[in-house]
């Protein structure tokens, strides 16, 4: 989910950078002092998640954690992912510095959408377990990220269908893994530390942790 240097055209680069900077600024503005440790830890988790590789067939992909980060951080996903993506770019050459804005959008915007999607799913429902909701969000995070990536590339090379098919096939194993990871994280944190779930923690607390 990292676009390298030299792929994006100038207008796309300028637009995505502007959007990313606004997102990061808004995320920082909304971030409370109590949120910061969680944002830092999730940023670090995303930073290392890319090292966990899944090699299946011809493709080689890595974990994204978009869904988990979205659920736990909300709009703070923007500053968290911006920091991690910047360091990945500088240390490992994952994604180019010129494409940093696009990479932030492709990862953080799906995370924010996941946050709202998760709130929508669990609102007013008397669920026994949060696992299915978490699983769905984990899957949605990767799928949305793939669509955003394909959309960004489409603005530069005009092949959308071919690109999205290739990207989705490559990320198929990741989709399932992310679903399980997100489901497990949400149901575990809900039981032991609902406050770590952040913005959605309060909503989750209306669901009995011991009912499952």
């Amino acid at each position: 989910m990292h676009i390298a240097d030299g792929i994006l055209t100038m207008p796309v680069m300028a637009a995505t950078t502007t959007f990313a900077v606004s997102g990061v600024a808004f995320g920082l503005y909304r971030m409370d002092i109590d949120d910061i440790p969680r944002v830092g830890v999730m940023s670090a988790a995303f930073f290392v998640a890319s090292l966990i590789h899944v090699n299946i067939g011809l493709s080689s992909t890595h974990l994204l954690l978009t869904g988990v980060i979205g659920m736990m951080l909300g709009w703070s996903a923007f500053p968290a992912l911006a920091m991690a993506l910047f360091l990945q770019s500088v240390f490992f050459g994952f994604g180019g510095l010129t494409a940093l804005g696009a990479n932030i959008i492709n990862n953080a915007l799906p995370a924010v959408l996941c946050f709202y999607l998760f709130r929508l799913i669990i609102r007013g429902r008397n669920r026994k377990s949060l696992f299915p909701a978490g699983f769905f969000i984990g899957v949605a995070g990767v799928v949305l990220s793939c669509f955003f990536l394909a959309g960004t590339l489409y603005l530069c090379n005009e092949y959308f269908l071919k690109t999205i098919v290739a990207i989705m096939i490559a990320h198929l194993p990741i989709v399932l893994i992310e679903g399980f990871v997100a489901g497990a994280v949400v149901s575990f944190l809900h039981k032991v530390r609902p406050d770590l779930l952040g913005p959605v923690g309060q909503q989750c607390s209306s669901i009995s942790p011991h009912s499952s």
Partner: protein
């Protein structure tokens, strides 16, 4: 409850350390490698985390970025393409999913007799030296055998390039290993990155804390 936070904070680097030693913990980064033997440029593309892009077009570009040829990578991500002339050439490929890589070949890697194949627009003054229609050309070093210096030079070139071929292959192998080594992710980079992120978070807490105290 603090225990959970501690487990989370210290568990992460511990998990990472175990991953680094058990898995090929490399970046998902596309790389391209090329080497020259005679006129032929051969090479391969690879993801530094393992795996090779198959069926992707590799482009050969001239010094001014002009398109000189293209070739599709094999099942092993390998390719071979003929160089049309001696110059600083660039190999580049784009997998279409946001990854791109390139490899620069310098003119010095190509044999001298390739200079004649140079495109007219970028013809070098060396082209004129090849014939050398001076009096010396006629004075053969071995008149009884009829070798001219030019022919002799060709023979020597062929013999030398044949003799150093294994050495050249060895050097190419080392070059690709060196390239791979340079791009390897190291544990201190990972831990440094985590430390940087957590440090930044701490800094934000201090700044925000001061603001709320005011």
């Amino acid at each position: 409850m603090k225990r959970y936070a501690l487990v989370f904070l210290f568990g992460l680097p511990a998990l990472l350390l175990s991953l680094n030693f058990s898995l090929p913990a490399n970046a998902h980064n596309l790389k391209l490698f090329g080497s020259v033997e005679g006129r032929t440029i051969s090479g391969y593309a690879y993801y530094s985390g393992g795996g090779r892009p198959v069926g992707v077009t590799v482009f050969l570009l001239g010094p001014a970025g002009e398109h000189l040829g293209e070739v599709v990578t094999s099942d092993k991500g390998e390719f071979e393409i003929e160089a049309p002339f001696k110059a600083d050439l660039l190999l580049t490929l784009n997998t279409g999913d946001g990854h791109t890589a390139s490899w620069q070949l310098t003119a010095g890697e190509f044999p001298d007799d390739l200079a004649r194949l140079k495109a007219p627009a970028v013809a070098s003054p060396r082209t004129g030296n090849e014939e050398e229609p001076s009096g010396r050309t006629k004075d053969c070093l071995f008149p009884e055998r009829g070798f001219s210096p030019v022919e002799l030079q060709k023979l020597v070139t062929v013999a030398v390039s044949g003799a150093i071929k294994p050495l050249q292959q060895q050097i190419n192998l080392y070059r690709s290993q060196l390239d791979d080594y340079e791009n390897k992710i190291r544990i201190h980079d990972i831990l440094g990155g985590i430390g940087y992120i957590l440090g930044m978070a701490g800094l934000f807490i201090i700044i925000k804390g001061r603001k709320s105290a005011d």
